[in-house]
Amino acid sequence: MADPIAPVIQALGGALGGGHGLALALSALAMLALRAAGLLVAGALRPDHPLVAWAAAVSQATLAAFVALAVTAPGGAAAAVPWPARLAGLAVGLLAFRATGGRLLPALLAGLAALAAVRAVL
């Protein structure tokens, strides 16, 4: 049996400039669906509902894993930064964050400066 959606997707892809455009359009729809599903499920849940606590834990763990991977095993273009420079950027950023009493901007700039400095030396 022919897939009834295939011609629609093909036409959509054509209109959007081929595979890249089609992938983008489908992804944009999927992102809306993910966000909407979260809002829908939350419905009238209170902030202290276990499901909300679980969702917050999964979000934070994902973010922590993202950072850990970006520092230890980055993919793509970021891999061109040598690991001592990545580590120095993270360490100096965190130390500056502590030293400034939790100010984001100076800590961010200090971390990036440390990364650039270590990289220039290597």
């Binding site: 400039g17 595979g19 994902t62 970006a70 961010l108 650039a116």
Partner: protein, 227 residues
């Protein structure tokens, strides 16, 4: 402890977005715009990815996956699957469940989410949604403008500089997480997420992050329930 209500919550949210969040987001979206130009795709595609997908992990999967249509979209969706638990976690803080909460829909992404989870519980309920929308609209516009700037400036940016710029985003997230470490529930989730990160190396890139987050987050949640 609730803070006094800001007289213009939307404006104070917008102002909060203009410091470190704007720089961290700006440089990573700048790098993305330049990478799209280098891949030979158009400015419209770059802006569409930044503003509609609006989650860097998924955007990079889309860009790197090539013109494979549905498969690339599936990978990008897996890479950004965190939007679902993030929307679920933030929804109760966006005011009463009703039509207005849906205004936040397109803007649920790491930077506005993390800022809102820090700020909203301390604000009076009526100020929460306006604060979020103020912050989110500025972040979204910064993302779009930086993408366009990166796309247009691509010939001037060399590869080592772009690689360094890509590091601003994880560093910024690391600082946000460091600020959360004092809360026991957050501490458990962050440590479990780091411990689960190696899982991601065993799986295809698009699925690895999702698996590590699910495993680490669920472990941290169960650990908290036991304690």
């Amino acid at each position: 402890m609730p803070q006094p209500a800001p007289s213009h919550p939307a404006r104070s949210g917008a102002a909060a977005a203009l410091g470190a969040p704007a720089i961290a987001m700006g440089v990573s979206f700048l790098a993305f715009g330049a990478a799209v130009a280098a891949a030979g795709l158009g400015l419209a595609w770059a802006l569409g990815a930044s503003l509609l997908v609006y989650g860097m992990a998924g955007q990079l999967v889309l860009l790197q996956a090539g013109p494979s249509g549905a498969a690339a979209a599936l990978g990008a969706t897996a890479a950004n699957a965190r939007f679902l638990p993030m929307a679920l976690a933030i929804a109760p803080w966006l005011g009463p469940s009703g039509a207005r909460r849906w205004l936040a829909l397109p803007f649920i992404a790491i930077t506005p989410w993390a800022a809102a989870m820090r700020m909203l519980p301390g604000l009076p309920p009526a100020a929460r949604l306006p604060w979020f929308l103020g912050f989110a609209l500025v972040s979204w516009m910064v993302a779009g403008l930086a993408t366009a700037a990166g796309f247009l400036a691509a010939p001037l940016l060399d590869a080592p500089l772009l690689a360094a710029l890509l590091f601003a985003n994880p560093l910024y997230f690391a600082l946000l997480l460091a600020a959360e470490l004092r809360l026991p529930a957050s501490r458990r989730a962050i440590l479990a997420g780091i411990a689960a990160a190696p899982l991601a190396l065993l799986l295809p890139p698009a699925w690895g992050l999702l698996a590590a987050g699910l495993a680490g987050g669920t472990l941290a949640f169960l650990w908290g329930r036991r304690g």
